[in-house]
């Protein structure tokens, strides 16, 4: 023990930035969610390396990226919008905060709509083969996370418009944005797995 511990000092009160327990909790929520996706993708790769009839994994060869690639960019843009919102509340511009959150939520909603069309044009279904089960379950898990994130972004947007936050007190934004960036980042992994690895030869 070198120094004496001084108890006389000025301490911040309440939920602030990375000092809020909720922020730490979200970090570990993300760890457990990331683990969930790791196990989902493990399931994909585990089944991918089992023997398959040629041309059945994925059915009809590597899936087209004509919808998935633009949709990936839309999802990334939503993260940019949310990051812009975070930047603005740190500079005490609550209107731009709300606009950024709203834009993020809107882009997330567009992602869901396009994803619906992506699902609708597939030639296989959830129950037609092991691959179909994997594809719809894993992208479905991700879509469920996007739905939760979009609802969350709308709630944060409304709360911003209600004037709950300022440049110091915005822990909800801080935590919500963390989740949203995670949902976007994990999509890149899902996208890579389903759309790109078959192009690299992981198919039969």
């Amino acid at each position: 023990m070198a120094e004496r511990l001084s108890l006389q000092q000025r301490l911040p009160v309440g939920a602030l930035d990375t000092r809020a327990s909720g922020w730490w909790a979200m970090i570990f929520v993300i760890f457990t969610e990331a683990a969930l996706f790791a196990y989902l993708l493990f399931s994909y790769f585990y089944l991918a390396v089992q023997p398959h009839v040629a041309g059945t994994f994925p059915p009809g060869g590597a899936p087209s990226v004509s919808l998935a690639l633009p949709n990936t960019i839309i999802l990334l843009l939503s993260s940019v919008a949310v990051a812009w919102a975070q930047f603005n509340i740190e500079h005490n511009r609550p209107n731009r905060l709300a606009a950024g959150l709203g834009a993020g939520a809107l882009l997330g909603t567009i992602f869901l709509v396009i994803q619906y069309f992506e699902w609708a044009q597939k030639s296989y279904t959830l129950s037609s083969s092991g691959y179909g089960s994997l594809y719809f379950t894993i992208t479905g898990f991700h879509m469920a996370h996007v739905v939760v994130g979009v609802i969350m972004l709308w709630a944060l947007c409304v709360w911003s418009l209600m004037g709950y936050f300022n440049r110091v007190r915005y822990v909800h934004i801080h935590i919500g944005a963390l989740y949203w960036h995670f949902v976007d980042a994990i999509w890149l992994v899902v996208f890579f797995t389903f759309y790109l690895t078959p192009l690299f030869g992981l198919k039969s």
């Binding site: 023990m1 009160v13 602030l16 909720g22 730490w24 457990t32 196990y39 129950s127 007190r169």
Partner: protein, 650 residues
């Protein structure tokens, strides 16, 4: 508004009765049913966890006694095969998922804030949620059992036996969804432990001064965060295979049954350590008190705890040695399984050295803690044996493995938990447990356990397969099984004595006082039972043994721990946030009031799963909507928690 608008000058104040009275009014949950349901007090939640887990222990025990009667001799037909399947599966599921994990969560929920010098867990409402989901999941699984739909394919539930084609009833659907619900409880509870460990330790309690129990539960919780998704996913995929026509585990259509085993054991093996490491932590903290000296080798024990868990993630395939995997895989996992004996042995030698170098006081708690070392060693050695592939091929799916799992789970979980109950009961209730009855309790349990379970090693070596509902005579297993059944009943009498001791001592036990064992850690500095706010002032910690500093000969320290003078934090429910490693002052945390949102959320989540299992899709949708509304209400920015722009109030 700038950061300075949200600052408060704090200073150390003495712990005075007027302050205690003010804190009591702030923290105490009102009496009555409303307060009982809405409380977020970690001590009430902890006690509920422990009582619920003990209730499941008794249920699982009774199930075992029934099928031990069936196995008392050859060719008995007390139970049909179907009844036997449900009973042994319920027994395993109950003991492993509804007793062994939750009981440790209960102890840690109660003890952590007291050990760490905090006023509550970091996330009190999440804590309440964790308990209510656990209770709902337990009721969900037991209601299914009551209607004859209990799980019936063994607790690890292998496909294809558990697939729709071979197990057509709703049994496995209940098991799958119940386990997903229970997984949520464990996950949110684990997150709460990790955040509490990182953020709510008393000032000065740097991570090398934390009680080992906190290390044990921290390690287990961190593991759960990564391991639980595997089993929740496995059960979800199985439920999909059974109900939505997917093909994850069906080899004919591009699936693979071994995927189940991988996902299950990627969770299952870390879980084994998650349900023993906190119990080992109890021994590491409790045993030295009765040896009248600090634990020998604090740092190696803490590091070994973490190392065991890390290695524990790399051994899951030793449950799958007989599935025909490539030999390179078997070699790797066999080596990892054998290496894990090293960190496990660190603890054993530390405990033995603590007894050796100390002056043991032979209380009942000491007897349970010390006997745990013996049982752990026996269970460890049989595990080490089956870690070798050729031995495993001989012994897998025999009673030898059943003996191993019981020496591990009863030896490393039940014995420490019973010891910990004798040790901390005075803190929980303000009364001592009866020592005389305690001796009877200990010797009945210890002798009954060894009488019952040791012969299983031999019946396993003689080739008796596990999970058979009866067996033919002339196999050489008759007298071994009779002894096992007798032993299990003696053991059950021991558990009964334990329950009786709790009930009697709760009313008539000797008054304990703050620190009846003259123990060194913070929980013993406050009253027994502790007040709702735990500590009148936030303690300051300068060593691993805040209450033993006067007598330990490390007098070169410049500072002493302080429990009677510290921060008051009395402007509403507040606790102190400190930095993750050094525990320096960081923030005043506003703690939530009592709330109905956790119990409602547990009920809405249960509604979803009830809808899914009964195929009442509208019910699941209603449950999902209610869940969403409840979560939004929970998270609504709250000025009293310092979450909104207005300056923090009172």
């Amino acid at each position: 508004m700038a950061v300075s608008d949200y600052l408060r000058v704090v200073t150390a104040t003495p712990a005075k009765p007027a302050l205690a009275e003010r804190l009591r009014r702030i923290w105490e949950t009102p009496a009555g049913i409303g307060g009982w349901i809405s409380t977020v007090d970690h001590k009430q939640i902890g006690i509920r966890y422990i009582i619920t887990a003990f209730a499941f222990l008794i249920a699982g025990g009774v199930e075992a006694l029934i099928f031990r009667l069936q196995l008392a001799g050859p060719n008995l037909h007390l139970l049909t095969p179907e009844q036997y399947d449900q009973l042994f599966t319920m027994h395993g599921m109950t003991m492993i998922f509804l007793y062994a994990g939750p009981v440790l969560s209960g102890f840690s929920n109660y003890l952590w804030p007291l050990l760490l010098g905090a006023r509550d867990m970091a996330l009190p409402r999440l804590n309440a949620l964790s308990y209510w989901i656990y209770l709902c999941a337990g009721i969900f699984l037991y209601l299914a059992f009551a209607f004859g739909f209990g799980p019936n394919d063994g607790w690890f539930n292998y496909v294809p036996v558990a697939a729709r084609a071979y197990d057509g009833g709703p049994n496995i659907d209940f098991y799958s969804l119940g386990m997903i619900l229970l997984g949520l409880s464990t996950t949110v509870g684990s997150i709460n432990f990790v955040v509490t460990f990182l953020r709510l330790r008393a000032p000065g309690m740097s991570i090398n001064r934390v009680p080992i129990l906190a290390w044990g539960t921290l390690t287990a919780s961190a593991a759960n965060i990564f391991a639980i998704p595997a089993v929740s996913l496995a059960f979800f995929l199985l439920w999909m295979d059974r109900n939505a026509g997917t093909h994850f585990f069906d080899v004919a259509t591009g699936g693979q049954p071994l995927l189940w085993q991988h996902l299950f054991w990627m969770f299952g093996h870390p879980w084994v350590y998650a349900i023993v490491l906190p119990a080992m932590g109890m021994v590491s903290d409790g045993l030295p008190v009765f040896c009248r000296r600090p634990l020998v080798g604090y740092t190696p024990v803490a590091l070994a705890t973490v190392a065991t868990m890390v290695l524990g993630f790399g051994v899951w395939v030793h449950h799958m040695f007989a599935t025909g995997l490539p030999s390179v895989s078997l070699s790797f996992f066999s080596a990892a399984s054998i290496i894990i004996a090293l960190p496990s042995a660190v603890g054993v030698f530390a405990w033995i050295a603590t007894i050796w170098a100390g002056k043991p006081v032979f209380t009942t708690a000491f007897m349970f803690f010390a006997s745990f070392i013996v049982l752990f060693t026996i269970g460890g050695v049989s595990g080490y044996m089956t870690g070798a592939v050729p031995v495993d091929w001989q012994l897998t799916d025999t009673y030898f493995v059943v003996a191993h799992i019981h020496y591990v789970l009863i030896g490393i979980n039940v014995f420490p938990v019973v010891g910990a109950t004798y040790f901390w009961f005075p803190k929980f209730t303000g009364r001592m447990m009866d020592e005389r009855l305690g001796r009877w309790n200990f010797w009945t349990m210890f002798l009954g356990f060894n009488l019952g379970f040791f012969p299983m090693h031999i019946s396993g070596l003689l080739g008796m397969p596990r999970r058979v509902y009866t067996f033919a005579d002339g196999m050489g297993w008759d007298w071994l099984n009779l002894i096992t059944t007798l032993g299990s009943f003696v053991f059950a009498i021991g558990v009964l004595l334990f329950v009786i001791n709790i009930l009697v001592s709760h009313r008539r036990g000797r008054i304990a006082g703050n620190n009846p064992w003259d123990a060194p850690t913070l929980e013993w500095s406050t009253s027994s039972p502790p007040p709702a706010y735990n500590f009148v002032v936030i303690p300051t910690v300068a060593s691993r043994h805040p209450l033993w500093e006067d007598r330990l000969e490390d007098n070169d320290r410049q500072q002493r721990s302080e429990v009677n003078r510290g921060l008051a934090l009395d402007q509403g429910r507040e606790s102190l946030g400190t930095t993750a490693l050094d525990a320096e002052l960081d923030v005043i945390l506003k703690m939530p009031k009592d709330s109905y949102t956790p119990v409602i959320l547990a009920l809405t989540l249960t509604t979803i799963l009830t809808g899914l299992v009964l195929h009442l899709w509208w019910l699941a949708i209603v449950g999902a909507l209610a869940t969403g509304i409840d979560i939004i209400a929970w998270l609504w920015p709250d000025a009293t928690l310092g979450e909104t722009a207005e300056p923090a109030r009172g």
